[in-house]
C-alpha cells in the first residue's frame, strides 16, 4: 500500500474514530485516587453481645490514631428491617459503644443516622431492633436519612452512569463518618459490608423503598459511586453474629465472634470477606474499590489485634455467588 496523502488522512480518521470509541473503556471511572499508602485493620474477638463491648471497642479504637476533638461524628449502622430472631441489623450495643467511645475521644457531637432500605417506618425498626430505648437513654440523636434535607451532589465516580444524586445533608456535612455494618452474605452483591452499607444514605423519600434505581443501575456500581462521593473515615464491623445464605434479610445467623475496625473501608471489607471465606477480589465493588478507594492486598494492610483466620467452612451464599469461595 502506498502512503499518499489520501491514505494518510483516511488512516488518521480511522484511528481517531477507533480511539474515541475505545478510550472511554480504558479511562478510570473515578475522579480521584483516595487510597492511603497503608491501611490499618484490627480484628477483635468478641463472642457475645455484652455490656463490656464498650471497653473492648474503646481499647480497640486506641490502636488507631484518630483526631476526633471537636468533630461531628456520624455513626451509620445497617438497619434494614426487623424480623424476630434474625441477624439483619447492626446490634445496638455496638453502636452505643461506638457513640460512647467517640464522646470520650472528644467529639463535639455524636449522632446516629440511617435510612432503612426496605421498611418505611424507621421509628418502628428503631423500636423493634432495640435502638429507640438506647438512643433515648443515652441522649444520642438520630437522623432518618430517608427523610433528611437533601443536597444535589455530583458523583465522584461514574460506574452506574448517573451524574448526580440527592444525598442527605447529615452525612455530607459530617466531619467524621463511621460505617458500622453487619457482616452478611447478600443475594445481589455477594456480601454486604462497610461499602454496601453506604447505600443506606441514599434517601428513600427521593428514590423509594427499596432504592430500586440503584438495583437498575447496578448494585456494585452504585456502591462504588456512593463510596467515591461520601468518604467513610472509619469502619466498625459487627461480626459477632453474622449472616450467611440468602442475605440481607432471609439468611441464617452465623456466629463469627469478631469485631473488625479499620481506617479504610476497602481494607475492612477485604478483611471481612476473608473472614467469611471469600476471595475479596471476586467481589466487584471491593476489586474496583482497590483502584481508588482503599487497599485490598494484605501487603498494604497493617493487621493488628487477633490473627485473620479464614473459617473452616466458608459462608454459604446463593448459587450466583459460589465463585466467591475461590478454589
Amino acid at each position: 500500500m502506498i502512503l499518499n496523502r489520501r491514505n494518510f488522512l483516511v488512516g488518521t480518521a480511522a484511528l481517531a474514530a477507533g480511539a474515541s470509541v475505545s478510550v472511554p473503556f480504558f479511562l478510570p471511572k473515578y475522579h480521584a485516587d483516595r487510597r492511603a499508602k497503608r491501611s490499618r485493620v484490627a480484628i477483635l474477638n468478641v463472642e457475645q453481645y455484652v455490656q463490656r463491648i464498650d471497653e473492648l471497642l474503646g481499647s480497640g479504637l486506641r490502636l488507631f490514631r484518630m483526631n476526633i476533638q471537636g468533630k461531628t461524628v456520624v455513626l451509620k449502622p445497617n438497619l434494614v428491617d426487623y424480623m424476630p430472631g434474625s441477624a439483619i441489623n447492626t446490634h445496638p450495643l455496638i453502636v452505643l459503644a461506638a457513640a460512647q467511645a467517640y464522646r470520650s475521644l472528644g467529639a463535639k457531637s455524636v449522632l446516629v443516622a440511617e435510612g432503612p432500605g426496605h421498611q418505611r417506618d424507621t421509628q418502628l425498626v428503631l423500636s423493634q431492633s432495640g435502638y429507640a430505648d438506647l438512643l433515648r437513654n443515652f441522649a444520642i440523636p438520630f437522623v432518618d436519612l430517608n427523610r433528611d434535607e437533601l443536597i444535589y451532589t455530583r458523583l465522584r465516580a461514574s460506574y452506574m452512569g448517573m451524574k448526580s444524586l440527592w444525598l442527605p445533608r447529615t452525612v455530607l456535612e459530617a466531619d467524621f463518618l463511621v460505617s458500622i455494618p453487619k457482616i452478611k452474605a447478600h443475594h445481589w452483591a455477594g456480601a454486604t459490608l462497610s461499602m454496601k452499607n453506604m447505600l443506606g444514605t441514599v434517601p428513600g423519600a427521593r428514590y423509594g423503598w427499596p432504592k430500586n434505581i440503584l438495583h437498575w443501575r447496578g448494585i456494585q456500581e452504585s456502591i462504588l459511586d456512593v463510596c467515591a462521593t461520601i468518604p467513610v473515615h472509619f469502619v466498625i464491623v459487627d461480626g459477632i453474629i453474622a449472616m450467611e445464605g440468602n442475605g440481607p434479610l432471609s439468611g441464617t445467623a452465623r456466629p463469627l465472634g469478631k469485631i473488625v475496625l479499620a481506617d479504610d473501608p476497602v481494607a475492612a471489607d477485604a478483611t471481612c470477606a476473608r473472614l467469611m471465606g471469600f476471595e475479596p477480589d471476586r467481589i466487584l465493588h471491593i476489586r474496583e474499590g482497590a483502584k481508588f478507594l482503599g487497599n485490598v492486598s494484605p501487603s498494604l494492610i497493617d493487621q493488628v489485634g487477633e490473627a485473620l483466620t479464614p473459617p473452616t467452612t466458608p459462608f454459604d451464599v446463593v448459587p450466583e455467588f459460589r465463585h466467591l469461595h475461590g478454589v
Partner: protein
C-alpha cells in the same frame, strides 16, 4: 364533606389550644377528653411547622419542603377556608412540574415521582387547582412500572426469576424507570379512583386501576399483608409491614371479600395490638376503618403514645391527626364507607 378543623394560625401552643373549639373533633371513645387534648397539641405542632412558603419539611429540623409531608399535612388540617390550607394548596400548585407531575421536595429535579398521587388527592376539592389535578392525572396515566415494557416483562419471565411476581401485572413505581411497588401503586389507585368520569382522554383509568389492583394482589406476602413488594425472594418468604399493608388495604377498600384482603386484614388486626410506632399504627387505623372494622381502642392507644407532638417526623404528626378523625380522613382519600 370536610369538617372544619382549624381556621387560625396559632402563635403558641397554648393560644392554639384556646382557639380550637370542641365541635371540631368528634372522637367517640371513652378517653375522648384526653384524646382531644393530645390531638389539639399535635395539630398545633403541625401548624407551627408549616414553612412560610406553605409547605412542610419532612423533619422538624429541616427547612426543605417535602411533598409527602405537605400533602399529608394539608389533608390533616383539612379546612378549606383556613389560611394555612390555602397557602399549602397554592404551594402545591406552584410546585407542579411542567409535565404535570410533582417533585419529591422543593428544589428537586423536574421528572416527577410517586408523590404526584398524593398531590392529586390533596388538591381534590380545590376548584382553582382543577387544571393542575388534570395534568397530574394525565401524567399518572402515562407513568408505569418498567415491567410494563415487553422487553423487561420477558426478562422477568425468563431470566430474572429470583423475586416471585407476575410482571404482566404492573402498577406504579416510586421514580421513573424502575419497577412497580406496593405503596406508589396503592396511592395511584386511590388518586385515580377519585376521578369522577373516564372521559377526555382518561378512558383507560378503570383499566389501569384494575391492573394496579391485580398487581397488589399478586405482590401480597403468602400469609397475607404486604411489604415493599417482595413477597418471596430466592424462595424465602419475607414478612409483611404494617404500614405497607395498611396503605394497600386502603386502596383495596372496595375488595373486602377478596381472600387476599381478608388474610391481610386478619394479619393487620393481630399486628395492631402490639404496634407502638405512631406512623404504622395511624395507617393501620385508617385501613381497618376503611374495611368497616372498629378502631376506637386503637385510636386511644395511638393518642396515649408518649410525646406525639415531639415526634421529629412531620408525616407522622399528620397521620396521627388523620387517624384520630378517620372518617374525615377516609373521605379525603376517596373512601366511601
Amino acid at each position: 364533606m370536610h369538617r372544619k378543623l382549624l381556621a387560625f394560625r396559632p402563635t403558641s401552643p397554648s393560644s392554639a389550644i384556646s382557639l380550637l373549639t370542641v365541635e371540631r373533633f368528634r372522637i367517640k371513645s371513652a378517653a375522648v377528653k384526653s384524646d382531644r387534648v393530645v390531638l389539639i397539641g399535635v395539630l398545633a405542632e403541625l401548624s407551627r411547622r408549616q414553612l412560610p412558603a406553605g409547605g412542610w419539611a419532612a423533619l422538624r429540623s429541616s427547612a426543605q419542603a417535602s411533598l409527602e409531608s405537605t400533602c399529608l399535612s394539608t389533608l390533616a388540617i383539612g379546612s378549606d377556608d383556613s389560611d394555612e390550607v390555602r397557602l399549602a394548596q397554592e404551594f402545591l400548585v406552584r410546585l407542579q412540574n411542567p409535565n404535570g407531575s410533582w417533585p419529591a421536595f422543593f428544589g428537586d429535579d423536574r421528572d416527577g415521582v410517586w408523590v404526584t398521587s398524593l398531590a392529586v388527592i390533596a388538591l381534590r376539592d380545590v376548584a382553582t387547582a382543577i387544571p393542575a389535578r388534570l395534568a397530574g392525572i394525565h401524567w399518572l396515566m402515562k407513568y408505569q412500572g418498567k415491567e410494563a415494557n415487553w422487553f423487561w416483562r420477558w426478562k422477568f419471565l425468563t431470566a430474572d426469576r429470583h423475586v416471585r411476581f407476575d410482571p404482566d401485572k404492573f402498577g406504579w413505581p416510586w421514580v421513573p424507570d424502575t419497577c412497580s411497588w406496593v405503596v406508589p401503586t396503592a396511592f395511584a389507585i386511590l388518586a385515580l379512583s377519585q376521578v369522577p368520569c373516564s372521559c377526555g382522554g382518561l378512558e383507560d383509568i378503570p383499566i389501569r386501576v384494575d391492573l394496579g389492583i391485580e398487581m397488589l394482589m399478586d405482590r401480597a406476602c403468602p400469609g397475607g399483608g404486604w411489604n415493599a413488594g417482595n413477597g418471596v425472594v430466592y424462595g424465602s418468604t419475607l414478612a409483611p409491614h404494617p404500614d405497607d399493608t395498611a396503605i394497600a388495604l386502603l386502596a383495596l377498600n372496595n375488595r373486602t371479600q377478596h381472600p387476599v384482603v381478608q388474610a391481610s386484614l386478619k394479619w393487620l388486626e393481630q399486628t395492631a395490638q402490639t404496634l407502638t410506632a405512631p406512623w404504622s399504627l395511624a395507617w393501620t387505623i385508617l385501613a381497618l376503618a376503611s374495611h368497616g372494622r372498629a378502631v376506637g381502642p386503637l385510636i386511644t392507644t395511638l393518642m396515649a403514645l408518649p410525646d406525639l407532638s415531639g415526634n421529629d417526623d412531620t408525616c407522622t404528626l399528620a397521620l396521627v391527626c388523620l387517624a384520630a378523625d378517620s372518617s374525615r380522613a377516609l373521605a379525603a382519600f376517596g373512601v366511601n364507607l
